[in-house]
Symmetry: C2
Subunit: 326 residues, 2 copies
Amino acid sequence: MKVLVTGGAGFLGQKLANQLLSRGSLKDSDGAEQKIEQLILVDVVKANDFGDSRVKVIAGDIADPKLIQGLITPEIKSIFHLAAIVSGQAEADFDLGMRINLDAARLLLEACRKAGHKPKIIFTSSVAVYGGALPEMVLDTTALNPQSSYGTQKAICELLLNDFTRKGFVDGRVLRLPTISVRPGVANKAASSFASGIIREPLNGQPSICPVSPDLRIWLLSPLYAIESLITGHDLDSSKLGLNKSINLPGVSVSVGEMIEALHKVASEETVSLISIEPDPKVEAIVRSWPASWDASRAQALGLKSDPNFQSIVEAYIEDELKGKS
Amino acid sequence: MKVLVTGGAGFLGQKLANQLLSRGSLKDSDGAEQKIEQLILVDVVKANDFGDSRVKVIAGDIADPKLIQGLITPEIKSIFHLAAIVSGQAEADFDLGMRINLDAARLLLEACRKAGHKPKIIFTSSVAVYGGALPEMVLDTTALNPQSSYGTQKAICELLLNDFTRKGFVDGRVLRLPTISVRPGVANKAASSFASGIIREPLNGQPSICPVSPDLRIWLLSPLYAIESLITGHDLDSSKLGLNKSINLPGVSVSVGEMIEALHKVASEETVSLISIEPDPKVEAIVRSWPASWDASRAQALGLKSDPNFQSIVEAYIEDELKGKS
């Protein structure tokens, strides 16, 4: 089989590609394990090909109809659609967000429909689809009332994917990811960027500004479990998802203050003192509109898992990205 | 002020136009009553202008960017977007449904944003946005899980309108209408067409095939209260709607068997015998995916009203459309 990953040069795209290459196969819609013969990584910049002959790298605009139509052939059996404009940037540049987060996804779905072979397609969605007056516990049956353009675009994609699946055009599923922490690398324009920054920067000896109050609670998942969820979610039998193909993934609910405490347990006072709290109303408004947790029992029954707690997330980051140095 | 009604040649569009002309004014976003100087009715066919000099009729394709961009000038203070492909047709012709029910709405919102004057815009949505595993009582906070392409397209428009409103591009609100019954005229391609047909056709001495079982319950509203709701919904102060501009309108929950009984109370045995029950699985699947009722307390608190019961809906139809003859 051929597998396509959009956003393949991104942080999650690269982690996923690496994991897919090491695993070597995925389940098709009939549940049969199929060898991955080619892994196509498309992104606006050239992705790393890991020196693996199975990888094909394509640089291009994911919202370009010609690119998408050329990519989606009947040999493409599975698509991981990760390409996105992050929350803060989609809020600042409305047109760019609509183009990449909505139009590109629709192009992809339409190209699959045209190809006619009903490929598996995995969309990543987000805590940002929720918002407004949220109940005490967010359930899979809680209304999506996004309070950001990013969340709106993701919610629309969920509806499209569900309808294209119901019509038999694709075999789709949506994984609603918690905020991913700790991301390696540098800060990005996501409103949630701080959720990695306040851990990553101090551990690298750099100062980090936290733009939200310590009492703010967020719903987190480590990169490792995010990738595991993408693959488990891909391999699930669609019929087990019932009439709603969107799944709230398990995660860890933690306050920003508790995140800083967890860092303190593995790092020095000096390291922790590199964090300064400087609330930014714009960032705080977006992040506070997201649920601090949700009921993930449906996902857990489907075999999806999360980190046990935030402490273990910090430890895994130190182990994987800093080679044990903290 | 100038007011635009899309779908202005349709049944609801014409009823609304007539009511707006008779009323003569609408509230602007500041709550001030503004005289309607021009009422533009756009539709794929020429609308009736009621011989009123305030009415301008435009025939054209609502999904044509040039038409929409030309229509939306800063003088247009209010837009009622009623144009739609009905449920059964949107299910049968996926592309047509996407084009009219989704693309045209987005064009309209983008044209408003470009015009920059934040017009009031009223979208009509539907019971069809709900579906899947519904709770005992559907609330304003119940997730939208449409099981038809029509419902999907309407749900997407709700999300778009909410985000365009949040961004300050429009002053929008969505009214989720129950199934409208009794519509005059002839059957259409809506899956719910029978909800008018089983009353209208027998009262006109015509046979009517009911494609669903008598136990099926539906959520209904008369044309009169639908129009009242559109105008009350238009005049509402947006801030009263909070962070979700979509409103579940009040209605009447009734089984198909009870609808036939209600007809029996005002018409002869011979008239009722013109109805034959011949369930059609395709129609029944769509209609059964819709809620049979929902909690309308939020709408009622906002001043929106429904018919007291189905009997009164039948009596109003006989009074208004048959001039009292049954």
